[in-house]
């Protein structure tokens, strides 16, 4: 760890993993409510569990992105972080605001929460991913501003590399794209239209720069590839992401009331959206194949390779399946969208966060890489989580298909609830896979508590004996 202030990333990573556990527990509860609607009902309405599940996801991903930025930017800019104290203060404000919001979701009905937090003053509550009360929304904006101020001052003072600049730029994008949350028109079509600036703008536009630059950074540090090559790849991946993404937002506008030309423009441009994920795979695998050095942190490399593959499967393939207008006419608002959501979020953003944590944590704890035993735990956790998530996505996709063929693409459509009853088996599979995912997560977390650093002598001796 070249710079002391990089240590600021440690609390962010730890809090991120903690919130990740909370997210999965609430996901399991929400998944259980699909199976048995009455058991938890008096205590936990489904919308409370879902709200908490999605908001915890966003909060912990933002936590890990901030941690990654605090770790990467000082190293890239070759200078100390502008103000580590401000970073820690922001950390606690963000953590407390997030925790209070989740508590508010779980302990009271949404309308009470709205009344208690002066939503009538400036109505912003009620939209997916943006259920936070007004004070929390303002808190998030302030936290982001402080975070951006800190990062920007650091990179201004230091060396401006492509990875550093793009990471800071994407963080600016995250903050600016959150502002439409305060625009909540009465006209539902305008409301949805602008809502997608945030959701699509984040996950299919701005956030795609984060895996691009973080994969580039980890490749740079672990495989010793020269910076020039990495920079070109990142720019091209970013260019493809934005060129397909800006008009690709049209695939959200098909059936919410926007004009009909979006069916064509949305389909054509979003069909190109998997391209950046494909380029990310090619970049990661070619760089690792002709690497110049063998980095001891095998787990981090596995995470990065896994991330590119799963991101392509989830965001690219599953996304493409439901993106063309004629297909989405039947798949819009079914569990197929949820399947894409789960696999894409996990593949593209959860895994890049875990990859960065897996790379940075040993360094933050003073060693190049964890011991072989610890890495073996970590890799086991990786595989269990990946397989579980693939099963979850498949189960949800199957449920979505049942909805399509019984409720939509059929001569005599059945009512919604009847069709959902027929999909009970898939919701069971999804719940069991969810428990599998939770086990994988616990295995992954176990790896942090395995003692001992990387023992070069032992590894070399072991390598010699086997070769």
């Amino acid at each position: 760890m070249q710079f002391k202030s990089q240590a600021v990333a440690k609390p962010y990573f730890i809090a991120a993993l903690g919130l990740f556990i909370g997210q999965i527990i609430l996901g399991l509860l929400a998944g259980f409510e699909y199976i048995n609607g009455t058991a938890l009902f008096p205590y936990l309405h489904f919308n409370m569990a879902r709200m908490s599940h999605t908001n915890l996801l966003v909060v912990w991903l933002l936590m890990s992105f901030m941690g990654a930025a605090y770790f990467v930017v000082p190293d890239e800019a070759q200078t100390e972080l502008y103000s580590p104290k401000l970073a820690l203060a922001t950390f606690w404000i963000f953590l407390i605001a997030g925790a209070l919001t989740i508590l508010g979701y779980l302990t009271m009905s949404y309308s009470h929460l709205a009344a208690a937090t002066y939503n009538a003053l400036w109505p912003t509550m009620g939209r997916g991913y943006l259920e936070q009360p007004l004070p929390t929304k303002i808190g998030i904006v302030l936290v982001m501003l402080a975070f951006l101020f800190n990062l920007t001052m650091t990179i201004i003072r230091g060396r401006k590399t492509t990875i550093g600049v793009l990471l800071v730029a994407s963080m600016w994008g995250v903050a600016l794209l959150y502002l439409p949350a305060f625009y909540f028109p009465v006209d539902t079509v305008k409301d949805s239209y602008s809502w997608w600036w945030i959701v699509h703008g984040w996950v299919e536009g701005d956030w795609e720069l984060v895996p691009a630059s973080l994969v580039g950074y980890i490749m740079l540090k672990t495989t010793g590839v020269d910076r020039e090559v990495v920079d070109k790849w990142i720019y091209i991946i970013g260019a493809m992401a934005f060129m397909s993404g800006f008009l690709g937002i049209g695939h959200h506008y098909y059936y919410i009331g926007a004009p009909a030309y979006w069916l064509w423009i949305g389909s054509i441009f979003s069909a190109l959206e998997p391209v950046p994920f494909l380029l990310l795979i090619v970049f990661a695998f070619t760089t690792i194949r002709n690497r110049r050095r063998d980095h001891p942190n095998k787990a981090a490399l596995l995470w990065v390779q896994g991330e590119t593959i799963m991101a392509f499967l989830g965001a690219g393939v599953l996304g493409f399946i439901i993106t063309l207008a004629p297909v989405q006419y039947y798949a819009h608002g079914t569990n197929l969208t949820a399947a894409h959501g789960h696999l894409a979020f996990f593949g593209a953003y959860v895994m890049i966060s875990l990859a960065t944590i897996s790379y940075a944590m040993p360094i933050l704890r003073g060693r190049e890489a964890n011991s072989i035993a610890a890495q073996r735990w970590e890799m086991t956790g990786f595989w269990v989580m990946c397989v579980s998530m693939l099963v979850i996505a498949s189960a949800l996709a199957a449920a979505g298909l049942v909805t399509i063929f019984l409720q939509r693409y059929t001569a005599n459509p059945l009512p919604f609830m009847e069709v959902q009853q027929k999909e009970a088996v898939f919701f069971w599979i999804r719940e069991i896979a969810g428990l599998g995912f939770f086990t994988g997560l616990l295995i992954y977390l176990r790896s942090f508590f395995v003692k001992g650093g990387y023992n070069y002598a032992a590894y070399a001796q072991q390598a010699m004996s086997t070769r």
Partner: protein
């Protein structure tokens, strides 16, 4: 001649391409923004509809239901509710919740007054008339 591939040009392609398509998107958005009021009869947004929307939002109906396909997939699509079931059924249904049928998905009772129920139903009626390019495929939503 050796292939030239400079980082500077890659950056220009990134910035140029992004800016270019952003402008294209803004132009299309401007056209869309002009047409939305016609497509969803914005003139029919009465205070009752607005109040209905406020109630729908602050009770997180989109946390279980979907409107125009957006929201959660736990409960039926509301876009077709007015046409498929009609105001009287909706009113009675919402007042009689939760059903308590064992194992079935439950909807909480929001304890709306009769006026609030009228507003919510007015909002559902208005939502049902949005020109969503012929979606959903049938009245089941």
């Amino acid at each position: 001649m050796q292939t030239i591939f400079t980082k500077a040009m890659a950056r220009n392609v990134f910035l140029g391409g992004a800016g270019f398509f952003l402008i294209a998107y803004l132009a299309l958005s401007y056209d869309t923004w002009q047409q939305i009021p016609k497509r969803d009869h914005a003139n029919l947004i009465t205070p009752a509809v607005a109040e209905g929307k406020y109630l729908v939002d602050t009770n997180d109906c989109m946390g279980c239901h979907t409107i125009n396909g957006e929201g959660a997939y736990y409960a039926p699509e509301l876009d077709v509710s007015y046409k498929t079931y009609g105001p009287a059924f909706i009113r009675a249904w919402m007042m009689s919740q939760p059903t308590g049928a064992p194992g079935r998905r439950q909807m909480p009772n929001f304890h709306f007054t009769q006026d609030q129920l009228t507003d919510v139903i007015a909002y559902l009626q208005w939502v049902g008339n949005i020109n969503t390019n012929g979606w959903p495929p049938n009245k089941q939503g």
